[in-house]
């Protein structure tokens, strides 16, 4: 059931990323919904599922880009693994800390992605991180903040569970 839910989450994220996200692009900078989904999976499920999910969804992304087969799988499995440590972590309870971690995760992902894809020109990779990675991370973090906010409100207004 968990696997099915994850497949659904990443499927929706993947399809939206390749279709509708361009509509909300600002100067060709788009939020990364797949990393956002990976962040949620990592928070809910932990490192192991997040790593596998990151690898799988990265591989599917790679299948769209023949020249970089394995690159997304590598970067996303690493990010999934790293984000898995936030699972049930006390320091990710607030909206802003969550958004900051999401921002760092996207930035780290792009760092890995661009440095490897532009290897051995590390300068060019870092340049791409500054020009593309940083605004993408910022945009994704802001979007994540909004989603966290609404999820938080929904949790607050949920009916009370059975008492102890």
């Amino acid at each position: 059931m968990k696997a099915l839910r994850m497949v659904l989450i990443f499927g929706v994220a993947l399809v939206l990323q390749s279709t509708l996200v361009r509509l909300v692009a600002i100067e060709s900078i788009q939020p990364d919904l797949i990393l956002l989904a990976l962040f949620f999976v990592a928070l809910m499920e932990g490192s192991y599922p997040a790593t596998i999910a990151g690898f799988c969804v990265g591989l599917v992304q790679d299948l769209y880009a023949p020249q970089t087969l394995g690159l997304n799988a590598l970067s996303k499995s690493l990010i999934g693994f790293a984000l898995g440590f936030c699972h049930r972590g006390v320091f990710v309870e607030g909206l802003i800390p969550r958004s900051l971690i999401l921002f760092a995760a996207v930035l780290l992902h792009d760092l890995v992605y661009f440095i490897i894809s532009l290897w051995p020109d590390i300068g060019a990779g870092l340049g791409r991180v500054a020009v593309v990675g940083f605004p993408t991370a910022l945009y994704t973090a802001i979007l994540g903040y909004v989603i966290f906010y609404f999820l938080h409100r929904k949790e607050q207004f949920q009916p009370l569970q059975d008492g102890p």
Partner: protein
Amino acid sequence: MARVFFWTDRSRPYITVAVAVIISIVLLTMGPSHQMTVARTVTVTVLAPVQKGISWFHQLGDFLAQNRRLRRLNTELALENQLLREAQLENVRLRQLLSFREREQLSAILLAEVIAREPDRQMNSILIGAGRDRAVRRNMPVVTAHGLVGKVVEVFPRTSLVQLLMDRNCPASAMVQRTRISGLLSYRGGTTFRLENVPWRMDVREGDQVISSGMGDLFPKGLSLGRVIEVRSQERSLFKDITVEPSVDFNSLEEVFVIIGPAEQSQEVSP
């Protein structure tokens, strides 16, 4: 044994990420293979319909906006097309008038626009946009490329009133072009004329062209008046009953020529 399982459970994320990294690096270093091509084809084929569906759903909004825009553009183009078609028809009419002028060798004719019609169903007169300012005089013949229209009956400073042949009080001396038999063409109501005073023995057939005879010094000779569509010889009558269809469509007059040359009259009428 339990410790081994515990160790494995704790190490599982590390082992997983290590395996994932190794596989990814292998994939990065290996070239394109047939299996990858198949996998890529399968992935794209599976996701493409969903992506297409979502894109279509999004494009639906675009289609509506585009539809509105295209309908507005269509209306604008249709109006423009109508104007161009109108200009083309006007061009054709003017060309016909020019060729008529050359054909009839009319040295002094004046082009005038029909600016009003008599607000009566009979439509026996029209107002044209040429008057005293352009040397129009009373009794000048008015024609189109198709034939005789009528005569000027009133002249104003910038306009003139033209009495149409389609008026019982505006008969024209006429003759059958084929046999040169003369008669008097007069309006009989409806859309037809009657050629009167043609003796019953005379040779007049359906389809004969009727032209102005030039008698009476009002209309020049040879202007087309119409075509015989019915000939009847009544008992105890000395004359044939000849029905003529006019060559001019009086309902669609837009430009006419005033012949100011041969038939010019000195008499002038004050408005």
